[in-house]
Structures are given as structure tokens and as C-alpha cells.
């Protein structure tokens, strides 16, 4: 009798399981996770809507978390077989995610590496490990020179500077001081804690003939002539030309917003914050070229990847969703909603986008942008912050300070890669 009842239970459970499987076959639901940022969520809502309209048998459920708890939640959920099938992560986290087996490589038949390298901007190569790509961006960010049009008019400068010499000259004309010699407006904002460390690493060092890192960003390579020239140029802006002060008005972007900085180097993500500032007339130009005309830029991005949890039909659905997220259409929607730049030239380099007065200079920068592979971005940035402060506050010689910073940064890289 008892055995009979048990059998009934098992049969019942099996039937239920089968029914559940049958329902999910007609409509696969996959989960997508990203961190919370209003514009990103809105853009993704729209992308999901379009995707579902084109693929009626797939539904995508988006979940978002505050940035602080994002990584922890992802790490806890996936190994437990829950959470996202497609996940968003910062490009710099790829190593950690691959090592922890949270994500799986993109299938080579749908995403052949040669095709990706042909279609995407070159810096996306950082997402390749071995023979396959593990993640792909929808949108990327780059740097450009913001300038205050009113201050340019006042100083009689007609066009934004195109090279570093013009840049220094313009900065000199834009700088204002009070009777006691205190700065009241800077020609160019500086602050190693903002975007300047990227500008030095990927732009200035290359423009002075160097290469910031060797061996896939595992070896520091700025303790040399090019590095010293680049850091010297940057340090001279304050020490020799007096056209800036580190952390003037607390934050570089605050000084620019308040109309007390003639020029400001920042990322495309700053556009939104500047758009609605009353009384500020600003323009954007490409970063000034180096002494020999070299152009360079730094790009960072968030990528989407398929998690190791996705299997079977969910995996197939996830692949389809990834295909849509990396389509030209999705990239254009992302540009219009979030203000981040398309990751493929085919979507980015349209006439309309390239000639756009605001996006244009950023998009042109993408063609020659590099992406730094960081082991620990904030710690590596700190070595550069400290380097400049040792020179400014403690009077350490430039050469000595650069050498100390190179040593410290190498130690961070060694610890990360040799564990």
C-alpha cells in the first residue's frame, strides 16, 4: 500500500516536471543582469522589447542591482545555478570571471573571432582569450577635449588646439589670476584621480614615442625617456606654465561646469552631466595630437557575456540575445538613450554620428583608441596619483618619482598575474 502511494507521487512529480518542460519549450525565459543606472535600464528595456517582438518564443527578464552589491550578487548566484543567463560586466573584470568559471566562451560558429576582429573597433581584442571571445560590448567610451566657448572667445582663440604645443599656448591664454597671484580660472583642469591617468598612460606616453606596457599589459614600460617626457609634460602644466592646479575647485569636472576652466579632458559619459548646465557654452574636440602628429585615445567599456549557468535551449536563446545586443540597431539605440558610443565602426562611423558636434570627436577617437588591461584599476591609478603628489608636495625629483611608481605598479601586476 505504502509503496503504491510512493509510486503515485513519483508519477505525479514526473508528469509535473514534463508539463513544466513543455511550457518552457514554447517560451524560453532567460535572465539578464546589469547594475542600476537609470539610462542603461531604460535603454535595455527598449532593447528587450524589440528583441522579444522579433523572437516571440523568447522572453528576457531583466534584473538590476545597485553598483556596490552587483559583483557579490553575481558571484553568489551563478555557482548556485541561479541568476542571469546573460550578464553585464566591466571589461577589466573579465579575467576574474573567466577564472571563477562564471562565464563561458561565445560559440565560434555565431561569433567567429576573425569576424569580430573585422567588425568591431580594435580595442575589443582585449576580450579575446585564446581562440575565442568571451564577451562583447554594445557600447564603448572614449576621451575628448571639452572646451569652454565663452572663455575661448574672451581669450581670442578661434579653434580648439590640435596639437600639444597649441594646447599649452591656449591654456596660457585662458588662465586667470587675482592680484595676489591666486588662480581664479585654470587653462586646463588636471587631476590624476579623474581621467588624467588614462590620458597619460594611453595617450601622452605613446605620443612621446613610448609604449606604456609590454607583454600584454603585464610589464610596466614607462620608466624610460618617453615616459619621463610624458610625465614631465604633464607636470610642467602646473609646475612650469602655471596654467592649472591639481584638484582646482575640488574636482576637474566641477571647475569646468562652473565656467572656471578653459579646457577639460573627460570621457563621453560626461556629456549628459554637462548638457543641462545653465550658462555654460561648451564644445568638444579630439584630443590634441603629439609632437610628431601621433593620435591616441583611451577606451573603456562594459561587456555582455553568457554565464556558465545557461545550458540547452536557454543557451541558444542567450546566444540569440547576444547577437541582438551586438547589432548595429542595438548600438544606435544605446547611443541615443545612454550617450555611449557604438562598439562597431559600421554603427559608429555613419555620416550623422561622425559629424555630430558632440559625439563626433569621441567617435573619431575610437579608431585609434587603446584599452588598458588593468589588474586592479584603482590601485594602479593610486600609484600615479602618489607619483604626482610626491613631486608636488614633497619635492621629489621627477625621475625618482616615476621610477618609484613604476616599481609599485609592477608589484601590483606581479602579484595579480603570479598567484
Amino acid at each position: 500500500m505504502k509503496l503504491h502511494r510512493l509510486r503515485t507521487y513519483i508519477l505525479g512529480a514526473a508528469t509535473a516536471a514534463l508539463t513544466a518542460a513543455a511550457t518552457s519549450a514554447s517560451a524560453v525565459e532567460i535572465e539578464y543582469w546589469q547594475y542600476f543606472f537609470d539610462a542603461r535600464v531604460k535603454a535595455m528595456d527598449q532593447l528587450i522589447e524589440n528583441f522579444e517582438a522579433a523572437n516571440p518564443d523568447i522572453t528576457v527578464k531583466m534584473t538590476h542591482f545597485p553598483y556596490d552589491s552587483y559583483r557579490t550578487k553575481v558571484a553568489a548566484a551563478i555557482p548556485a545555478g541561479q541568476g542571469p543567463d546573460v550578464v553585464q560586466l566591466f571589461y577589466g573584470w573579465l579575467n576574474d570571471y573567466v577564472e571563477a568559471e562564471l562565464i563561458q566562451p561565445l560559440p565560434a560558429d555565431t561569433f567567429p573571432p576573425e569576424k569580430i576582429e573585422e567588425e568591431f573597433f580594435p580595442m575589443v581584442k582585449a576580450m579575446r582569450m585564446g581562440d575565442s571571445y568571451w564577451a562583447l560590448p554594445t557600447a564603448v567610451r572614449s576621451l575628448a577635449l571639452f572646451y569652454n566657448e565663452r572663455m575661448f572667445d574672451e581669450a581670442g582663440i578661434e579653434n580648439p588646439p590640435t596639437n600639444l604645443d597649441e594646447f599649452v599656448e591656449a591654456a596660457k591664454k585662458l588662465t586667470k589670476k587675482d592680484g595676489a597671484g591666486n588662480l581664479t580660472a585654470v587653462g586646463i583642469t588636471t587631476g590624476m584621480t579623474a581621467q588624467d591617468h588614462h590620458w597619460i598612460r594611453e595617450v601622452l606616453i605613446r605620443q612621446f614615442g613610448g609604449e606604456p606596457y609590454l607583454d600584454d599589459y603585464k610589464k610596466v614600460n614607462y620608466e624610460n625617456e618617453a615616459g619621463l617626457k610624458a610625465f614631465g609634460f604633464y607636470n610642467d602644466l602646473q609646475a612650469k606654465h602655471g596654467v592649472t592646479k591639481a584638484a582646482f575647485m575640488d574636482e576637474p569636472q566641477a571647475a569646468f561646469k562652473a565656467g572656471r576652466a578653459g579646457m577639460h579632458i573627460d570621457g563621453s559619459f560626461r556629456i549628459g552631466a554637462l548638457e543641462n548646465v545653465r550658462g555654460l557654452k561648451w564644445g568638444v574636440a579630439e584630443l590634441p595630437a603629439g609632437p610628431d602628429g601621433t593620435k591616441s585615445n583611451y577606451s573603456s567599456y562594459w561587456v555582455n557575456a553568457i554565464t556558465s549557468k545557461a545550458e540547452g535551449e536557454k543557451f541558444d536563446a542567450a546566444v540569440k540575445f547576444m547577437e541582438y545586443l551586438t547589432s548595429d540597431e542595438a548600438m544606435q539605440i544605446w547611443l541615443e538613450t545612454v550617450g555611449e558610443l557604438p562598439a562597431k565602426p559600421s554603427a559608429a562611423m555613419t555620416d550623422e554620428n561622425v559629424n555630430h558636434p558632440v559625439y563626433g570627436p569621441f567617435i573619431k577617437g575610437l579608431e585609434y583608441a587603446k584599452t588598458t588591461v588593468f589588474a586592479n584599476e584603482s590601485a594602479q591609478r593610486q600609484t600615479m596619483v602618489d607619483m604626482m603628489q610626491r613631486i608636488e608636495l614633497q619635492g621629489q625629483a621627477l625621475e625618482e618619482s616615476v621610477s618609484q611608481a613604476a616599481g609599485e605598479e609592477q608589484k601590483i601586476l606581479d602579484e595579480y598575474y603570479n598567484k
Binding site: D68, R71, T72, V74, A75, D96, Y97, E99, A100, E101, L102, D178, A180, N182, L183, T184, G191, T193, A194, K245, A246, A247, F248, M249, D250, E251, R260, N376, S378, A379, Q382, V385, D386, Q389, R390, L393, Q394, K419
Partner: protein, 297 residues
Amino acid sequence: MRFYKNLSIPQKQIVWAWAFLALPVLFYVVIRFYPTANAFVLSFQEWNLLGDRKFVGLENYAKLFSDPVFWKVFKNTFMYLILGTPISLVLSFIIAYHLDKVRFMHGTIRALYFLPFMTSAVAMAWVWRWFYQPVPIGVFNNFLASLGFAQIEFLSSTTNALPSVLAPAVWAGLGFQVIIFMAGLRAIPQSYYEAARIDGVSTWTVLTEITIPLLKPTIVFLVVFSSIGFLRIFDQVFNMTTNNPGGPLNSTKPLVLLIYDTAFNGFNMGYAAAQTVVLFTILLVVSLIQLRLLKDS
């Protein structure tokens, strides 16, 4: 049920006591003791939040003690304590002592001292951060410049930054300490003062022989309480130096900020746990020493 019936009344009382204690005990075990024990274990492991935890023995501690930044931070943490606790205690005692004698607008003045304590530390830190800026936005420096003096580097100097960060923290804690001191002052029986007045004792003697000795329990409480507060200082430092947390050149970085940075920027959880264990030990030792020194004399 029969088991319960057979118990004596005192035994039943014990059963009920534990029944009521079960909830807080469970709460403490799950929310406090388990994570604490876990942190101790984690301090011997390597973990980046993703993937598995690996035992590495004493490596985290070895790394910590050979790290010059840790010793700098260690020194800063004690600077906050050594400067903060005595200054805030002396100031709050002086204010409480005199406020106790003031009758005119007593409530209003007391409320004004207490107000900063109720303000969010984050908001306050940001306002002070702007006060400290150089010309053209900093209040202090604009004032100096308008009088023709040279500017003072507050937050961007390796020597001035720590006291500058500490000042608002002391100011914010003042209200609370004043209230506690005043409660202590009120609790001293008036008869001692009357007896002293009859004997014609000087005000100074009254202060040193009656008031301060009888305030000892209050002082012990405030010393321990504010020491723990200064050893754990974080909000003020983090918010006043967000661009370069604990800077310039680590001159304001306290231990808690180092832990935060290691854990949530470096994702080096094992190393951060080791730092936490060190902080825990420091707090424990400092509190025990203070209780010992101040309790019995």
C-alpha cells in the same frame, strides 16, 4: 509535555528565560558571531569574491606587517585617537561645565551644540570639504585672501590634512559628549557643593576635588566610547577625500578605509579580513587598557 510538568518552579523559570532569550541569541549567532568567526577564517584565506576560497596560512598577515602603507595607516589611526579623544573631551567638559551654570536660553544653546551630532556625517564632511578648498571657492581661504594673507593648504597638504579632517569629526561629536557630561554634572549631589561653600573652598578646589572625581564614571564611559569612535573613523575621511581616498599620500588614511579599499576596490577579501582582525585586536586592547586604567585607582 510531561517532562515540563515534572520540572520545579525555578527550573521552569529557567526554561522560560531561555525561551525568551532564544530570539536575541539566534540573532546574535547569525548576524554577529557567525560572520565574525567567518572573518577570522577568511583572514587565512585568499578570495576575490568570485570563485573558491583558498587557504594560504599566515601569508595575509605577513604581507600586512611588511607593508609600509599599513604602518602609515596604523600611525594615522592612532593619531586620530591621540588627538581626537583628549581634545574633544576637554572641549566638551569646558562647554558642559559652563553651560551648566548658564540659565539664559539654556535649552537653545544646548540644542545648538547638539545639532551637528544629528546631522549626517556625509553632508557635514562635504560642506567642510568645500570650506577647506583654495580660492575661489573655499570660505576659509577666501577670507584669508581678502585680508591679504597667503592661502593655507588644508586638505592638499600632507601635514595639515589629518587635523583638518579630524576637526569636523570632533565638532560633530561634541554635542553628544556635552549632553553626557551635563547629565553627569547634574547627578552630583548638591550637598557636597554646599559643604564646600560653608568651608569657603576655592572654585578650583571644588572642580578638582569634587566635580572631576565624582564625574569619573562619566569620563570612563566617554573615553572608551569616543576612542572606539576615533579608531573606527571612516565617514569623514572618505567623504572629504573621495577623489583620492585617504590622501594625499595616505596622510589621512585610517585603518577602516584601508580595509574598505582592499575589500571593495581590490576585491582582496582575505587580505581585508586580516586587516579587520588587526583592527578588532586594536579596539579590544585599547578598550581593555582604558577600562583598567580608569576604573580602579
